[in-house]
Amino acid sequence: MTRLRSRPRMIRLMFIYLAVAVTLFWALAPIYWVMVSSISTRAELYTAPKKVWFPASPTLQNYQDLFTTGPKYRAGGFLPTADLMSRGMRNSIVASTATAALVTLLATGAGYVFARLRFRGNQIAFFYLMLMMPLPIWVSLVELYFMFSRLELMDTLVGLILILTTLALPISTWLMTTYIRDIPIEIEDAALVDGCSRWRLLVSIIMPLARPGMVAVFLVALLMAWNNFLIPLIFTRTSASQPMTVVLSLFIGQYEVAWEAMSAAAVVTMVPPFLMALFFQRYLVRGLTLGAVK
């Protein structure tokens, strides 16, 4: 489609940008408020009826306090030093990224097997994987706790990664199975006829074609791990493996919430996944199509 008639194209773009504006407003308005809160003082937050939409004198004090000891955050409360924040961030990044990578890898392989290979037990294996997906995890925690402590996985990043990976596997496998099914079989047939091994087929041909799917699964697993609160709460204890979600809950005081401080912490917490998503979203593009076969 190379004939560019400027007017229909402009109109199309106009509609698109209008829709984009609406979408962004819906998605970002509350986030804007978080960001504004994080650079405001408490007094500015408590204004009514006219709200301060952008503080007259924005302050980075909240961020500064975040990385130094800030006992003013809560009515009482003594926050350990910047260590807590930085280690929490490190733990979150390592745990989530490793989980996402591991999940994507395993799910893609399994997705291929379930989508393409017919063998005895294919259905059973698939159901086995899916069956417990909706089981609420509360009560299983006790047994898991027991297991973790016996296996010396308590309060370790490795343990955290293992369990987060396991929890994300059913969904991710199902997604990859679905995406791989969309890949035209002819491409594989051509490769197999040429004597390609199953492994090479998977790595060199399927994976590039399933890239959008892999990216989607990666992002899904990443965010599932990043936002998980209950698992790290029970299975991590110290800053050796405690991620940001648990660290953030400390900003809730005994009697009140230091909203300006918490919003600063929230903004900081959103930066790594944002950057990662920004980096990876470019792969959410169409892979090679049928044209490649010809």
Partner: protein, 301 residues
Amino acid sequence: MRRVLSHDAVFIILVLLPIIVLVTLFIYYPAASTFQTSLTSENLRIRRPAEFIGLKNYNFLLHDAEFWEVTRRSLVVVLLTLPLEMLIGFLVALLLNERFPGRGIVRTLVILPWMMPPVVNGFLWGWLLNGEYGALNGFLYELGLINQYRYWLRAPETQIVWVAVVQTWTRFAFPMIILLAGLQSIPDELYDAAKVDGAGVWARLRAVTFPLLLPSFAVALVIEFTTTFQIFDVVWTLTSSGGAGGTINPFTKTLMIFNYELVFRDLRIGRGAALSYIILLMSLAVGMIVVWRIYRQGIRE
């Protein structure tokens, strides 16, 4: 689907084994123990050892008024949230499937709500909806739509509605990503062919997009149904006081909050375990229906 060649067996085993091991170890093994617990009267407050009582816990729950009320409420949340969420996710995916300058950054920005840490999310919205100083009030006041601040979360009916709104806002990016990836796998040729046949935008959607998107849509639907049915974070941080105490709000008590209450407040572990399994069965039932109808149909086409 093709037949398996002999050397494929190694392939299959190597690929599937780690997953099977992980899932068996960390999901099935504890789940079996949970099931066993559900057949006992285990209660951490009572120091006598738990007794085996068979299906009594299940029986109790199925006859408990609170259980049904909580289930009904969870379904209401699903009805309010799911259609909206899937619709928004789908529309945004369609939008972001188009090519336009700046698409990359928009795609990332749109996922931001999902990145909001759950703890912060509840407080954010609680603060936004605050009756004395909330930003929503401020915004509407400025637009002249209200002349006095409203207490948005005061009435029990509106609490549930806001839970639905917040959940939609938080989660719409998930179906969006799945559908976007699904849209990306639809080859251009099919659209071109349809255009050549003279199909307009809507007809192209119906003939090409919908059918091919059905499997991804079904996956997203099942997962989102389960997530919404088992909603916890938003309800907890928005409507139960997240501060010291964390009192459960009876008007927004959904199944998972009820489960939390049974396990961690009442310490009735046995009954809590039984509830977990009932929730599992309910989720599976819906999941199966969606899979049978929508997913299979999508595969066929």
